[in-house]
């Protein structure tokens, strides 16, 4: 499942649904990215995607992870629009026969989402707004999985 949504992510329902009815999946790893208040510096995070293109680019990342780690299933659900501190920005879940594959796939997908998925993030705070771009560390993290 790959989905963009403006509504709040119900991470409980997403987790429960992802784990249901699995008889041969030994391992589910999930990652939930939350918007941080940054001590009041961030009042709202504004997330933009390129509808259609963004989902397809994520699908390519997901296909690569499924092939590399032998996954049974993957879910990526991402907020777009205005996100308040404490709310979930992204939910990623991976299902695999064993734990290391599930955890590594989650790690890879998050690295890709941070610097290679078509999203743009604007942080609105008391001193105005700024665009958030991937850091050097984010780019290096994603490169770990290349080649």
């Amino acid at each position: 499942m790959i989905r963009l949504q403006t509504e709040i992510l119900d991470v409980g329902a997403l987790t429960a649904g992802f784990c249901a009815d699995r008889s041969e999946t030994g391992a589910v790893a999930t990652f939930i990215g939350l918007a941080r208040a940054e001590g009041g510096a961030t009042r709202v995070l504004e997330l933009e995607a390129y509808s259609g293109f963004t989902e397809r680019q994520i699908a390519l990342m997901v296909e690569e992870a499924i092939a590399r780690f032998g996954l049974h299933d993957v879910a990526v659900v991402h907020r777009v629009g205005a996100v308040a501190p404490g709310e979930a920005v992204v939910f990623v879940a991976t299902a695999a026969p064993h734990r290391r594959e599930a955890l590594q796939a989650c790690d890879q997908l998050m690295d890709y989402l941070k610097s290679r998925a078509p999203f743009w993030k604007k942080e609105h705070g008391p001193d105005g707004a700024r665009w958030i771009e991937p850091t050097g560390k984010d780019l290096a993290d994603a490169e770990r999985w290349d080649g």
């Binding site: 390129y50 397809r56 999203f119 993030k121 604007k122 665009w131 991937p134």
Partner: protein
């Protein structure tokens, strides 16, 4: 042909979407046309990490726009 701007490119230009009745022949010509109208946008488009997608396919370097219906300019991406 539709031209789409995302993230800070839309902020710089003051628009997100525009329809061109006479599409340029190539991506470089489109960039030049946009830069001629708005030098700040031209500079932003030439900035580091800005990618282009033609009909929702990422392109590297030059691309022929003959028959293309949508060109998007994408500044550095950051999800999650």
């Amino acid at each position: 042909m539709r031209v789409l701007l995302f993230g800070r490119l839309a902020d710089v230009a003051g628009w997100r979407e525009r329809v061109l009745d006479v599409p340029p022949v190539a991506l470089s010509a489109l960039r030049a046309e946009l830069a001629r109208e708005d030098s700040a946008l031209g500079e932003a488009l030439a900035g580091p990490g800005v990618q282009a997608a033609v009909d929702q396919v990422l392109v590297r370097g030059e691309a022929i726009l003959d028959g293309a219906s949508e060109v998007a300019f994408l500044p550095p991406m950051s999800g999650g």
